[in-house]
Amino acid sequence: MTLLLIVLLPLIGSLVPLASARFKRTTIAWLVAILPAIALGVAAYHTTSVFAGNIPTVSLPWVPSLSLDLAFRLDGLSLLFVYLVLGIGLLIILYARYYLSENDSIVRFYGFLMLFMTAMLGIVTSDNLLLLWFFWELTSLSSFLLIGYWSGLSSARKGARMALTVTGAGGLCLLAGILLIGNVVGSFDLTTVLESRDLIQSSPYYMAILLLVLLGAFTKSAQFPFQFWLPHAMAAPTPVSAYLHSATMVKAGVFLLARFYPVLSGTDEWFYIVTLVGLTTLLYGAFFALIKQDLKGVLAFSTISHLGLITLLFGFNTELAAVAAVFHIINHATFKASLFMAAGIVDHECGTRDIRKLNGLWRYMPYTTVLAAVASASMAGVPLLNGFLSKEMFLAQSLDAQMLGGLSWIIPALATLGSILSVAYSLRFIHDVFFNGEPKDLPKTPHEPPRYMRLPIEVLILICVLVGILPAILIEPILTAATAAVVPGEPPQIHLSLWHGFNLPLMMSGIALMGGLMVYIARDHIYRFHRQFKTLNARDSFENMVQKLVKVCQWSIDRFENGSLQRYMFWLLLTAVGFAASGLFQVPRLAGDKVVQPVDSVLIIGGVILCLAAIGTIMTHRKRLISLLFLSVVGMLVSLTFARFSAPDLALTQLAVEVVTIILLMLALFFLPQKTPKESTGGRVLRDLLLAGTFGGVIASLNYAVITRPVDSISRFFIENSVPGGGGHNIVNVILVDFRGFDTLGEITVLGIAGVAIYKLLNRLRLFMPSSDLEGRPWSPERFPVILYSVSQTLLPLALLVSAFIFLRGHNLPGGGFIAGLVAAVAIILIYMARGVEWSQRRLSFNYQPIAVTGVAIAALTGLGSWIFNAPFLTSSFGHFEIPVIGDIELATALLFDLGVYLTVIGATLMILANLGKVTTSHRPTKEKQ
């Protein structure tokens, strides 16, 4: 369980700076350091056990359904990285205390730093691939925060964004790779995966897995062609660069290579991809490290170069190369962290990082000069320092690489070239900055940094020297343990010693040192040569790319989302017809097995009229009134259709609704333009006609296909239970008010809401009202024709009586609340039309809103009533009652429910029409006024 502490303590540690914000900066630094120090102690506690070959693990379930466990392991590789991350992390905490100025929030810095440390520790100790990926993404996010720490600087923001984009995208590739591995192996458990080498390598997905995992590693480790983000991450404060680009962030990529080395390596694919990328990166980084004029830029490119070297070593596919790679990870971390810190001191004390201005600093800071010189020498591979040892191993391994056949000599040749460049830029870092004349107009007068700012560098340099002199004692145990985790099977015998005798690698080292010196002396020629080329700023091209991407997105959005409802409608309908048609394609034959019913002349005439009226509606659609008249013909014939096909309830409803709809549309038309201007181009009309025709064709085919096939309807249930269950003979009505009463309740609620919404929409509506018709003839001053109003008044009681009759018989014969309500509403509307709103309003002195609301309430309460009898919502009951005079009558609670429907329909319909009618009256020229 103590393993959990290694990750958990730094995580808690990220809250420490927040809690200690009120203390002095030094106190905060000490407090922040406590928890990582304890974590380091925990790692040390496990060290002997790990060296003995044990792998302590711990596993707690987290999201079992995703097979994501909080599983950690501490093998040799993890231990090595834990030491690096925590050890250098502690030094960085100390260093940052002096580096950051009073204006920088040290609390925020430490918070981000600790979060990042947690993420790194999580990556290196995860025993579950998904957990590893989780921490992997966490490093991307927290490094984003760290790189963009000086968020006021545009360069910091852009650099951070670029790092996040590249490493984040790589992270997604890694996730895909991990998911594939999980798919092949059947587990995300790292221990299981590491044992499934053959399974993965024989899988058809091996190539995909390899590419995806390598993409993750290469983006993180800034390998060519993804190296461009790293130099721009130098916008971060130097402690961040020292941490991220020596021991952690970029090392996560090579850690991944090491982690998956046992399962993915050993194939030709691995060799060619990894060595090629590594070699290219090695040379590319080394060359640009020589060119850059920015102190941190030099270090950034040298980091890229060294990461290339490590990648190249992993690519060699030999055990000793893997050992060398792991060894170089340690060495690079130590000398590069100290170099970054030295660069930070120079920057801090001189106020600039421009190498052209920085010269002869040894007079001002001799002590720092010595430290930086030793670190540079280690980077260059000078004997007696740790960098020399791993570089020797690297050169030796490059000689052993035989995969290129007869051209295999290219690899050691290029490796030597890389080493020459490495010596040259190391020399440049020391000679150009600390010697080589006098400083030129520095913003500050340089001096030695505070004592404790130097301490972290001293510690690291000490390690460099000691490892360089006594490798066998100091580094062999941990290197052996780490290698055991990387190289499958029996670990190779590692013998580190300073002196291997005169051999080829030593000669190559000698060439590198001499060549590097020569290249450095001839550097002006190289600068001149390089100046002929147009320099590409990666940040600018990246920003341009982002801008372009945004433009492309904007363009494609504009294509679809241009604000035109017509266009949306078109796409929507096109999609719909696509879906509908796709169903038809699967039907082998359009016509079904049902016997087709004969057609008679009445039907043909009706059908033809219906079609002609519909076509007439669109032909005349620009003369709106005529179009409306055609529409009413269509509605009438639809009503007749219902009647013809045995649906009297529908026919009655349709008839009543038709009347109300046409009155409504006529009223509305009064306020709208009488004509539609010709706007559509010929192409648009053709397009719409095509779509409409296709749509009609598809719907007709669908309809035909369905009605010519026998249906297995659930209606039998309703037919059988209508009388015993619902107490009514009219099945349609019983379904509405009983079986599907809940639906009906919902529907009348919608009706009521529509009425209320319309009432609100008409509120304070100001509209232009024409005083004449289309041809300019004024409206007739005779507003209320005598015949109409005499008839309407006579008709009203009769109509209401019919309405009541239809309502009452509805449960057993065609009729019911919907139809009765509509009939009553039509009768009242007739009064409005005949006598005008004012006259009617005086006599019908009640609002319609409460009627509609009452209707919904009655229906709902009827439903609730059944709860009193411990029955489910809307259970109906009925009984027969003997009423004097009338005789035996059947009363059902469903009738009460239907009353609710009835009232809602009347209320809502009149609310809509009467309110619309009111709008007309206010300003209209009338006879009375004249």
């Binding site: 087709v596 259709t641 309830d649 549309l665 509305a668 007709a700 329909v905």
Partner: protein, 115 residues
């Protein structure tokens, strides 16, 4: 008979769709009304086309499928409510924006016409 019925539904649908694609509110409302007729006819026919049938229990005729009828009956009423809502919305749009274009942007009527 089935073919005729399906054809009529198709023609109504096509006409409705065409009008729905117009650029002014009123034709769109008319189109929606046509479309709702088509939809109602379509749904109604899902139970098959029954001549000389009934949905009344204990009558001497065979049964027609009552379920699509019940569904369509409420659909007709709801359809009316929606048509009403849309047409009033169109009026309101014209009142507020001075245009009856569906996109509510083209003001092609002189402003003094509006009160």
């Amino acid at each position: 008979m089935e073919a005729l019925y399906a054809t009529v539904t198709g023609v109504l649908t096509a006409c409705g769709i065409y009008l729905t694609l117009r650029g002014r509110t009123f034709p769109v409302v008319v189109g929606l009304t046509l479309l709702s007729y088509a939809v109602n006819l379509f749904l109604f026919s899902m139970g098959g086309l029954a001549s000389k049938s009934t949905t009344i229990v204990d009558s001497s005729f065979p049964y027609a499928d009552p379920l699509p009828q019940a569904l369509v009956l409420t659909a007709i009423v709801i359809g009316f409510a929606m048509t009403a809502f849309v047409v009033i919305l169109a009026m309101r749009t014209r009142g507020d924006l001075g245009s009856d274009s569906v996109d509510g942007q083209r003001t092609d009527e002189p402003r003094e016409e509006r009160k």
